[in-house]
């Protein structure tokens, strides 16, 4: 994999901050975009822009065709049986809300148990809390061990033979842990629960196989997978999508509307009220093509090498003043490195790193229950993607030495 060539595909890397070339180590928050994706968005508006599923004229048909082709492309990425199982939404957050809210009117209407994990992003906690408030569901959290692995020894207790939904992230946005989704799903199904997978952090790094995962619903965001903001995907098993009530009402999502009643359209249209982000869907399709051309395996190997370098530098050069959170690299661990610098608050770390042209994330990472579990107020997180280089990792640790120097007594 030729990283220098890849970097030339991303115009943003021409930018400088405080006189340094941008070292973007925050792709877990949002990825940068290659020219082909930006061009795809532009091409839609220059050549195909019209509303979809509405006009009978040629341009609208082309727009509709492009949109439906994007749906097929995403279905292929997810190994879904049928493109009609792909719902375009704004992102992971909306996808999870569609599921939680829908189940809140069906299987969870009278309450019932929902099992999640303590490492979830707020977008996979808050919609369920809303159901706790609305429907009185009983929300249980699976704990982690000190290295950030799920503790499945408590899982059967949590399921209690009566759980109706198990919802978890495929990959933790803080710890990098790759969760054993298949095992979790099998045990959930054995006890009759549905399985919802937040794939926001895994989709950027691998093609997903919804069957192999054993999932019933899967959510991810385009903007973390090289695509624009405002486009994302909910995949649901056809029969389950059919039983889910709509989330928003409006145009596109109906079969017929009368003054005294309304019939809803079948999925996916039922969940796509209003004018969708067609340009975004087209660009997402191009982003997935781009990632496939780069090669998933090469990309994963490259990211792993960068993480290995980071772990090594942290261990060798810092006398124990840098503490890394998450499982060791000998175990499944995706492209994030969360750490604390002894005696220095993460915001102070990030401020000094910014001065060196390094963009990392600091804060609670929308995972306050996890911060509490780890007993830290906040963490630093560097995350890597296909376009990052070994030199950027070296710059990161050089800058962390500066942090220590600034704060040294």
């Amino acid at each position: 994999m030729d990283v220098e060539r890849i970097r030339r595909d991303f115009p943003i890397f021409n930018r400088k901050f405080h006189g340094h070339p941008l070292a973007y180590l925050d792709s877990a928050a949002s990825s940068q975009k290659p020219t082909v994706v930006i061009e795809a968005e532009r091409e839609f508006y220059e050549q195909r822009n019209a509303n979809v599923h509405r006009g009978v004229y040629g341009l609208s048909e082309e727009a509709t065709d492009a949109y439906e082709k994007a749906r097929e492309r995403v279905a292929r990425f997810l190994h879904a049986r049928d493109p009609q199982e792909i719902v375009f939404v704004r992102g992971t957050t909306e996808a999870l809300n569609v599921v939680a809210s829908g189940l809140g009117q069906t299987r969870l209407r009278e309450g019932g148990r929902v099992v999640t994990t303590v490492m979830e992003h707020h977008s996979n906690i808050v919609p369920w809390h809303m159901l706790r408030e609305r429907a009185g569901i009983d929300l249980r959290f699976i704990d982690i061990d000190d290295d950030g692995r799920l503790r499945l020894d408590g899982y059967d207790d949590a399921l209690d033979g009566s759980a109706k939904v198990v919802t978890l992230s495929h990959v933790s946005n803080v710890l990098g842990t790759v969760n054993p989704v298949r095992e979790v799903a099998d045990r959930a199904h054995d006890s009759g629960a549905l399985v919802v997978v937040d794939a926001a952090q895994s989709a950027p790094h691998r093609p997903l196989d919804v069957e192999a995962l054993g999932a019933d619903f899967v959510a991810f965001s385009g903007h973390k997978t090289l695509a624009p903001m405002g486009i994302g995907v909910l995949w649901g098993r056809a029969e389950l999508l059919r039983e889910l009530p709509p989330y928003m009402g409006g145009g596109e999502m109906i079969r017929s509307v009368h003054t005294d009643r309304v019939d809803y359209a079948d999925p996916p249209a039922r969940f796509e009220a209003g004018t969708p982000n067609v340009a975004g869907a087209c660009a997402l399709s191009v982003a997935l093509d781009y990632l496939e051309r780069v090669g998933w395996d090469d990309m994963a190997a490259h990211e792993h090498q960068l993480l290995e370098r980071a772990f090594r530098l942290a261990a060798e050069r810092f006398d124990g003043t840098i503490r890394i959170y998450g499982p060791p690299l000998s175990e499944p661990h995706d492209a994030v490195l969360s750490f604390s610098v002894q005696g220095v608050h993460p915001h102070d770390v990030a401020t000094i790193l910014d001065r060196e042209g390094l963009a990392i994330r600091s804060g609670h990472h929308c995972a306050q229950p996890l911060m509490n579990r780890l007993n830290v107020p906040a963490l630093n997180r560097a995350s890597v993607y296909l376009y990052n280089t070994a030199e950027e990792i070296d710059r990161l640790f050089g800058a962390l030495e500066k942090v220590n120097k600034v704060f040294a007594a």
Partner: protein, 133 residues
């Protein structure tokens, strides 16, 4: 900007904050947390027998260098002050006291202690300026 922010004056207060700790039976206490950074600062004040002058002040909690240094500097301004004068301290006074260039995000850090102080003496933030919230 980073290195102007982390001047020795600021770092001194961060490493060895003034008036850090708690009081027995404070007359006033107030807390402010900033969930974005996980910062949490508590101010406690004790008045003299006339109940019109600040006799002792302490702050506690955890935060970044800017929030801790700012809180520490603020406590130095309070002891011996008439309560009426403390009530008049404004956010600009605090920013002048801290006297470093701050991005909008970090201005919040510099005001965490001030907000805690406001909660202590008014039961609400000292300057109810929603534009700056």
């Amino acid at each position: 900007m980073a290195y102007d922010m982390y001047q020795e004056r600021i770092l001194q207060h961060y490493r060895t904050p003034k008036n850090f700790g708690k009081l027995d039976h404070p007359d006033f206490s107030g807390e402010e947390s900033n969930p974005l950074c996980g910062d949490r600062i508590r101010f406690e004040l004790k008045l003299d027998p006339s109940k019109s002058t600040v006799a002792e002040v302490r702050f506690s909690g955890e935060g970044c260098a800017i929030s801790m240094a700012s809180a520490s500097m603020l406590t130095q301004k309070l002891a011996g002050q008439p309560l009426a004068a403390v009530e008049k301290i404004s956010r600009d006074d605090v920013l002048q006291l801290v006297a470093i260039p701050l991005s909008p995000v970090r201005v919040k850090c510099a005001l965490t202690g001030f907000t805690a102080l406001g909660r202590a003496i008014h039961g609400a933030p000292a300057s109810a300026d929603p534009a700056q919230a």
